[in-house]
Symmetry: C2
Subunit: 241 residues, 2 copies
């Protein structure tokens, strides 16, 4: 049985915390079934960027978050975010998960993220899942549930900092960028390779050390080859350190 | 007066927490002054990726972290991480900050990150700072301290998820990638533009709405132009949605 939107509102109301000034606000809930092609669950730092990027490309995602203060803040910025717990089947159904093509699980809490993914996989097999992972363990839990489009939430920004560091040490920007892309591919491939041993710490350690050595050797060979190419071409002093 | 490394060890020892099994471990501390060109402060998810990327390129950063369990875990994976609080001047000096070319502040705690940056700026003006920011507020605090190479820790991974979503909806991968780069540039430029008004919420809201509209218009114009180019070239049905 599908709960009516009105009942959703009633059962949810008492959960809404009072905001700082002690007054209840009109937190908008999902009253009408939505039919957008994308649902974004979680509207923190991660979900906001995903939503803004989609919005800028003409897509209006249906956004769910269960933090009333966060919703209130975002509504002041002109966003329509709906209040609710994205791990609840009835709410996800009202959000239009039956017809959604993509559900972005951008929830920061690992347990809630996993609960949401399990519920979506079991009930809305037609929707593709794009997920945010807090760390490698979370990544593997999502992976085991059949999710393939997973991003570890700090990986790419850390690689940007690594690029900045290499540039400060004299690497050419395009070279630092290529090295970061190479590192990223290797790192993601290594995650898949380690997957079968992820509960066996000794093998994990051996694999991690071996992976790091392989990558270092790969980069060393590339540095050597680049230096040789530049020497053959008669280039003068533009080699990276 | 420069504290001797021995004294550092003595004053630090009692801070070291007991690990899970109740036994004290031999957590390595900085006994000898270091002279590496890069210091990485904070060896969590972010600092680890930066360090691994540097390591793979032949750079051995001096790594500091104040979480004894974290250090113990990373040492099992073959890393040499030193125990200590990166906001302390004496420890940073022993780590070689006087001669370091780059100090990567990858600390997750906002207050400690700011304390560390203030200390480094005041005492080691020769070292460039590359910083991790938790959010926009943290970004601005770092910016006010003169740091320019700052990454918001979840921005780039969120853009990867946005790219995946666009691809699932039919965008070509190279197009989704270019849109993410464009969004990123716009987003960073907008941060700088908003900086003077960041304590004035009404203007901040107006600027945020305006920035989003501008970006959406820009993308709409680009979509239109791309469609026209493709029509002129007689391409068949490869336009993005």
């Amino acid at each position: 049985m599908l709960l009516t939107p009105l009942l959703l509102v009633v059962t949810d109301r008492w959960w809404i915390p009072f905001l700082n000034d002690g007054k209840r606000r009109d937190i908008e809930e999902l009253k009408e079934p939505q039919q957008e092609s994308v649902i974004v669950a979680g509207f923190g730092r991660y979900g906001q960027i995903v939503s803004r990027m989609l919005f800028a490309n003409g897509i209006r995602p249906t956004v769910l978050d269960h933090d009333a203060e966060q919703i209130e803040a975002m509504r002041r910025f002109g966003w329509r975010v709906y209040y609710g717990d994205a791990t609840r089947l009835d709410l996800m159904r009202t959000a239009g998960a039956d017809k959604a093509r993509v559900i972005v699980v951008a929830i920061d809490d690992i347990e809630q993220s996993i609960d949401c993914v399990k519920m979506v996989r079991a009930n809305f097999p037609g929707a593709a899942i794009v997920a945010r992972a807090r760390n490698v363990q979370h990544y593997y839990e999502l992976y085991e549930l059949g999710v393939t489009l997973i991003e570890r939430e700090t990986l790419d920004s850390a690689l940007m900092s690594a690029r900045s560091t290499l540039e400060l040490l004299g690497w050419q920007p395009h070279r630092a960028r290529n090295l970061a892309l190479r590192f990223r591919r290797h790192n993601v491939a290594q995650l898949a390779a380690i997957a079968p041993h992820r509960k066996d710490e000794a093998r994990l350690i051996a694999a991690a050390k071996q992976g790091r050595q392989q990558l270092e050797q790969l980069f060393a060979i590339e540095r050597q080859q680049a230096a040789e190419r530049q020497a053959r071409a008669g280039w003068s002093g533009t080699a990276d350190p």
